[in-house]
Symmetry: none
Subunit: 260 residues, 2 copies
DNA sequence: TCTTGACTCTCACGCAGCGTGAGGGTTTAT
DNA sequence: ATAAACCCTCACGCTGCGTGAGAGTCAAGA
């Protein structure tokens, strides 16, 4: 027989939770002393573990009670229904993420916080290279800002960001077969765009200019050709389309909705 | 100037919501009559629409207030943080769905129909063979589950399944001339995959491991060599390709979800 | 003018699943 | 015997409102 405290540490829940489960009849103590103390045996511990398992699945307590009390209750059907509910929630959240993404892009495109900065962040040697690359296009002050932004991240964060970046390009290569305007590729470009924001705030014009540069600028082109020979022209087309969509479709719809 | 009812129908919210937003200072009426009535102008309507927009994104009301009152608040950063939170919730829900799935499978396998013996479709001798074969690879618990699943089928169904199984291998032998990646062979592997699911739910890794085992594991190899001497290496190649395609399709679906 | 019906207001409880005290008894170890 | 640790029962708080209750107000028709 365990007291509430013992059971709570055994199962990793709070004492209050045990009180509550008693209150709603989900888990009643195996015995109650005349002092009012609750005592639980191992069977109760087992039931509690079952409760916690189903709670992990995000089932609500009345449902768990129904399942465990097992009265004319089809567990498999219940779980399948629950699965559907979870899927629905996932899909809803995924559309939310998309909306958040486009909102961020809108805000960034509308109100550039700090105009055009450029990125660095490869090896020390290449860093200089890119710095000059960027300077030729955007000027020294902007580059310095970007470098400061980059240096403001921790070493680990920097590693993560770089990893994420190369991952995105690999995913893009894998998705090339679908064509530059395919939903798959365009979705990856959302990630790409998000990724850029670690370095600077790209306006829509910067984005589109970047797309062209990836193909037409010799140094960028070389970098991406090394990943895949067809990547530069592919990126140019895909990004052009991406910016197109952002400028027309979304601006009309969301912005109009907000301001009208 | 609109009354609460008017504003509520205009924006599609309840009167109670307007009361509440007033109470928490999120949306105060533009004017209040001496009778206590709330009156809202068009600016308030606009603000309400903004509120609803951010509420749609699942931001909580204090956050919305902070955003709209815009005091030393970086909207983009806030949205990025929110995006991460949404992503975390999505990932959590996705693992939950997985857990639910495996739970359902477990329950289905556990459904006690008749606790007879093993893989009854095979001859008594070969039965033991397959049993050990399976145990060596997957451990006892998995095999038991598979056996229980198998025993949950009726005798007639079991006979049909076994017939179907040997038929598939014969068809595969007949199709070997087309090559392991040919549509003909790949279509047969769909049937093969479906067939396996009568016994257990194979993950992609299990499928691919099975393909290798068919060639490299001496017992499996012997079994299939008996059907046709070139069948084992052929199956290994064909199955490897089949799994490859499945993985690609899966990736595409993920990306599609991300975009939609 | 009086009535009626549609609105309006301010409390205030309820929902899920507990967290977090408050205030007071009990047990256990020293 | 005393303190520490544990136990109990209220009971409010959190989110974002829904849902009345009870009472005042307004516009329009008889």
């Amino acid at each position: 027989m365990h007291t509430v405290k013992q059971l709570s540490t055994l199962a990793g829940v709070s004492v209050r939770t045990l009180h509550y489960y008693d209150e709603i009849g989900l888990l009643k103590p195996s015995a109650v002393g005349q002092n009012g103390y609750r005592y639980y045996d191992d069977q109760a511990l087992f039931r509690l573990q079952q409760i916690l398992f189903y709670r992990e699945l995000d089932l609500d307590l009345p449902q768990i009670k129904a399942i465990l009390d097992g009265r004319d209750f089809d567990l498999v059907t219940a779980l399948q229904k629950h699965r559907q509910a979870l899927q629905a929630r996932i899909e809803r959240l995924q559309t939310l993420v998309q909306t958040v993404d486009t909102t961020i892009l809108h805000l960034v495109g509308e109100a550039p916080m700090s105009k055009k900065k450029i990125f660095q962040g490869f090896s020390e040697a290449k860093q200089k290279e890119y710095e000059q690359e960027a300077m030729r296009q955007w000027g020294e002050a902007d580059v310095k800002e970007s470098i400061q932004l980059w240096n403001s991240y921790s070493k680990e964060r920097q590693a993560e960001i770089m990893e994420e970046g190369s991952q995105i390009y690999q995913d893009l290569v894998a998705a090339m077969g679908h064509g530059p305007r395919s939903p798959e590729v365009q979705a990856l470009l959302v990630r790409w765009h998000q990724h850029l924001r670690y370095f600077y705030e790209p306006t829509l014009e910067v984005l589109s200019g970047l797309g062209n540069a990836y193909n037409e600028h010799p140094d960028f082109n070389a970098t991406f050709t090394a990943i895949h020979p067809d990547l530069p022209p592919f990126l140019q087309q895909a990004i052009a389309h991406y910016v197109d969509v952002l400028e027309t479709e979304w601006l009309e719809r969301e912005l109009g909705l907000l301001k009208e």
